[in-house]
């Protein structure tokens, strides 16, 4: 299908703080994604266009942005599934460095605040190594944890969440989802006290308003809404 597509891209930064949109028209070739289209624009029309990329296969989460208003990975959005004009904007609620490039630091700071690291009996990499846990079928660890650990920390849920937008301190869906995975994972030995406090505090799970935008946009099929509910219910063995 040979047709042309216009990318309407939010431009900002790069020496000016002006926000504007610019249209770029390209030929939409077979099976191209929005990311492919961005490369075409950058390589052939405007090398000053700023966007982020790495794996191009939906696994690293680097290219997350708003496509026609909805958070998604640019590498996984095929042009043929969109109209003749596609609007591209950076993720919401994160500082915009330039154009489609956002600063992920606040996202990772909140992720870190939820104590995301697994803690084994002796966390040091150079200390005694234990045997891996035996996890038989039917054990909750298999089903429950198995879906929520697929998070690729792309920031789509963070951007789509209205509570994140309203409350600067809210930890956000990704961080709380990670906290849930560890809370439910009995291989985790010490259960950080800081995690319990962060999760239960004013800007933790109880600030979630069950809106569900996170579930709607997650490219990895993770359901932070459910993870947060399970934490609230303390139903860590559903």
């Amino acid at each position: 299908m040979q047709r042309t597509v216009t990318l309407r891209i939010a431009r900002s930064g790069g020496g000016t703080s002006q926000r504007s949109t610019r249209d770029y028209t390209i030929e939409a070739r077979s099976k191209m994604s929005v990311l492919d289209a961005l490369f075409t624009v950058m390589e052939e029309q405007d090398p000053s266009l700023a966007f982020r990329y790495s794996c191009r296969a939906g696994m690293c989460g680097s290219c997350a942005m708003r496509i026609d208003g909805r958070e998604s990975l640019a590498c996984r959005e095929r042009l043929e599934r969109h109209g003749a004009t596609i609007t591209l904007e950076p993720l919401r609620s994160l500082p915009v460095i330039r154009d489609l490039l956002v600063d992920m630091t606040p996202f990772f700071e909140k992720y870190t605040a939820a104590e995301p690291a697994f803690t084994g009996a002796d966390p040091s990499m150079v200390a005694k190594v234990d045997e891996p846990a035996v996890v038989p079928p039917g054990d909750h660890l298999r089903d429950v944890v198995n879906t929520e650990i697929d998070c690729i920390s792309c920031g789509a849920c963070y951007s789509a969440c209205p509570v994140v937008a309203a409350n600067e301190n809210y930890l956000g869906p990704a961080a709380l989802n990670r906290a849930y995975s560890l809370a439910a994972d009995i291989r985790d030995a010490t259960g950080a006290a800081a995690r319990r406090a962060a999760v239960a505090g004013d800007d933790g799970i109880h600030a979630c308003r069950s809106t569900g935008n996170c579930v709607a946009v997650c490219p990895a099929g993770v359901t932070p809404l459910v993870a947060i509910q399970l934490l609230r219910k303390r139903a860590l063995r559903p």
């Binding site: 790069g14 020496g15 070739r29 077979s30 099976k31 191209m32 994604s33 990311l35 492919d36 490369f39 950058m42 390589e43 090398p47 000053s48 700023a50 982020r52 990329y53 790495s54 794996c55 191009r56 296969a57 939906g58 696994m59 690293c60 680097s62 590498c75 996984r76 095929r78 460095i97 330039r98 490039l101 992920m104 990772f108 104590e115 995301p116 697994f118 084994g120 966390p123 990499m125 150079v126 190594v129 234990d130 045997e131 891996p132 846990a133 035996v134 996890v135 038989p136 079928p137 054990d139 660890l141 650990i149 697929d150 998070c151 690729i152 920390s153 990670r178 560890l182 994972d185 291989r187």
Partner: protein
């Protein structure tokens, strides 16, 4: 305008780690945990914990965990797969450490590997192995490993510099002691000199110098180029692994991305354009489960003989395995195929051999120390010798994690009692000037066009099957491109200038391509993944040697040290619970 007047901002640390894949992250954690007082800094071209190729690992991680398996068996499989070109001490280190690394990932980083019905870690079948020993998480093992290692990094006091690329390793006045590296912050366009007691190069190589390749888009052989420019020995650069089943996705950059080996391990067929299961002709015993080099070359030859698929590839057909089985076992791949219009569960998918892994690299010892240098370690794909002439599926992420761990421990030990070296000012200035050059020029060929030219030349001349004339032609084209690079400009703002970054990428890509082609021309035999149509036989008498390239010393050879096993040694008795290939 001259470099001398522009002072470069400098910081000092104990361990500077360039790269944040399996090797970089394991090294950072091991160095820090060995001595938490150390100032460890991780530098990555993309976002730490997200970019890189360890993330892309689908298949899994080979390790001896079962009683019926043995370290020796894994070692022999690795040597047989590598056509005995492996550095046997490195290969032995890999297979010996792998089991403990799996246990560390599971019990210290919280990686959750898939389980068998009896609750123990599940190990699946992978090509070229005499035992089912590939540990995995679904069909997306890499995401889990990198995410969990990154979590561990977040809660330790380890420095990080995201979206910062290394320009060059900086020696001291002696030239063989590495004092640190010149770095470039992509967001701000600022150069920073990182001084360190120990520098670890773990950028991950990654063969993106071909039209179809699997790695992440930022991989351009930065590690090889920097190592070469610093004067390191680079061995076996001709050994380029092509993965037989890279997806063909029209005009999308997704083309080349790997559809994992597990599909063939589970029984999928490869069909040519005429619907024939052509592997029956190329390897009647193992068919689709032969090693990657055999299967890739078979596919390539079918395509060259005019029996290819509509997009110029072959077909991968998993439909006879049952739609439910495929959907349940390979959900990531099913989804990826569906996004470009293929139903992997029900129909054949067009695939093409895709450049996947570079076996060659810097010459190191079992503690990742670089031969002939002080204060420099190399781990992961940037290093050579572990896999010989061809890598077994599942041994790649194993190499990154095993040698990353060794590098971290070695780095921490090396820091004790070692002073910072004084970087040679002229080296810093030279590195910065060369990097700035494209930014100060206008016109010339676009760096994107130059990249495409390199990729096309390599695909045609230094591809799956090579011969002298083609290789020489590639060298000529690469020389021409070197001149064009010298005239190409990316004038503009230094901040997040993707064209400038591509110009820097192309500079390194060309070096990696040139090293690969030169070595391919030198090795006049066929072995593992290196196939010469003008020298089709393997020649152990003359060629059981590594090719070695070093700046100002051209191409030489170094005999392989057969410290533990020789080709032709009696095979091990059949394993008790082996897979039937």
């Amino acid at each position: 305008m001259t470099a001398a007047h522009e002072a470069v901002e400098t910081f000092s640390c104990d361990v500077l780690i360039i790269g944040s894949g399996g090797a970089g992250l394991m090294a950072a954690l091991h160095a820090y945990d060995t001595n938490p007082a150390l100032n460890v800094v991780v530098v990555a071209k993309g976002l730490i914990g997200k970019s890189g190729c360890t993330r892309l690992v689908q298949g899994g991680f080979n390790a001896v965990l079962e009683a019926g398996d043995s370290i020796e068996r894994h070692f022999v499989d690795t040597l047989e797969g590598g056509a005995y070109l492996n550095d046997q001490e490195l290969a032995w280190a890999l297979v010996s450490d792998a089991p403990e690394i799996i246990r560390k990932l599971e019990t210290k980083a919280g990686v959750f590997f898939d389980r068998s019905p009896d609750g123990t870690i599940h190990q699946k079948a992978f090509a070229g192995q005499s035992f089912d020993r590939t540990v995995h998480r679904g069909d997306q093992t890499g995401i889990e490993i990198v995410s969990r290692l990154h979590d561990q990094l977040l809660v330790r006091n380890i420095g990080r510099m995201d979206e910062t690329r290394a320009i060059d390793l900086i020696p001291d006045a002696s030239g063989t002691r590495i004092a640190g590296a010149l770095l470039l912050e992509q967001r701000t366009g600022r150069f920073v000199l990182g001084r360190a007691r120990v520098t670890l190069l773990a950028t991950g190589g990654g063969p993106r110098m071909y039209t179809y390749s699997a790695p992440s888009l930022e991989k351009v052989g930065d590690g090889y180029a920097m190592a070469y420019r610093a004067g390191c020995e680079l061995i076996d650069m001709e050994m380029m692994q092509f993965h037989p089943t890279g997806i063909l996705a029209g005009a999308s950059r997704l083309s080349g991305m790997v559809l994992e080996e597990g599909l063939r391990g589970a029984g999928a067929f490869l069909l040519n354009g005429e619907g024939e299961r052509f592997m029956e002709r190329y390897d009647p015993v193992r068919k689709e489960r032969a090693t990657r080099d055999v299967v890739s070359r078979a596919g390539y030859l079918e395509i060259m003989a005019g029996r290819g698929s509509p997009q110029g590839g072959v077909f991968l057909d998993a439909s006879h395995l049952g739609a439910d089985f495929v959907a349940k076992t390979f959900p990531g791949m099913v989804r990826r195929c569906a996004e470009v219009g293929y139903d992997l569960t029900r129909e054949p998918v067009e695939v093409v051999p895709t450049a996947h892994f570079h076996m060659g690299g810097a010459r190191i010892d079992a503690d990742t120390r670089v031969h002939g240098f002080d204060g420099l370690l190399v781990a992961g794909e940037d290093a050579g010798g572990v896999h010989g002439a061809n890598r077994l599926g599942g041994n790649g992420v194993a190499e990154s994690c095993v040698f990353g761990a060794r590098a971290g421990v070695a780095a921490a030990q090396m820091c004790a009692g070692r002073e910072l070296a004084e970087p040679e000012a002229a080296a810093v200035a030279r590195a910065r000037d060369e990097a700035l050059a494209p930014l100060r020029r206008e016109g010339g060929a676009s760096p994107f066009a130059l990249r495409d030219r390199i990729q096309r030349a390599m695909w045609e001349g230094t591809g799956l099957v090579r011969q002298a004339a083609g290789l020489q032609r590639t060298l000529d084209v690469l020389e021409e491109i070197e001149e064009q690079i010298g005239a190409s400009g990316a004038l503009g703002d230094a901040r997040w200038n993707l064209a400038w970054q591509q110009a820097l990428d192309v500079r390194n890509l060309r070096v990696a391509a040139w090293l690969t082609t030169r070595a391919a021309l030198a090795r006049t035999e066929s072995r593992g993944s290196h196939a010469r149509s003008d020298h089709p036989k393997r020649d152990d008498d003359a060629w059981l040697v590594h090719t070695v390239q070093q700046r100002e010393k051209g191409v030489s050879t170094l005999p392989v040290s057969l410290t533990r096993r020789k080709p032709g040694d009696p095979p091990l008795p059949r394993a008790v619970a082996a897979v039937v290939a």
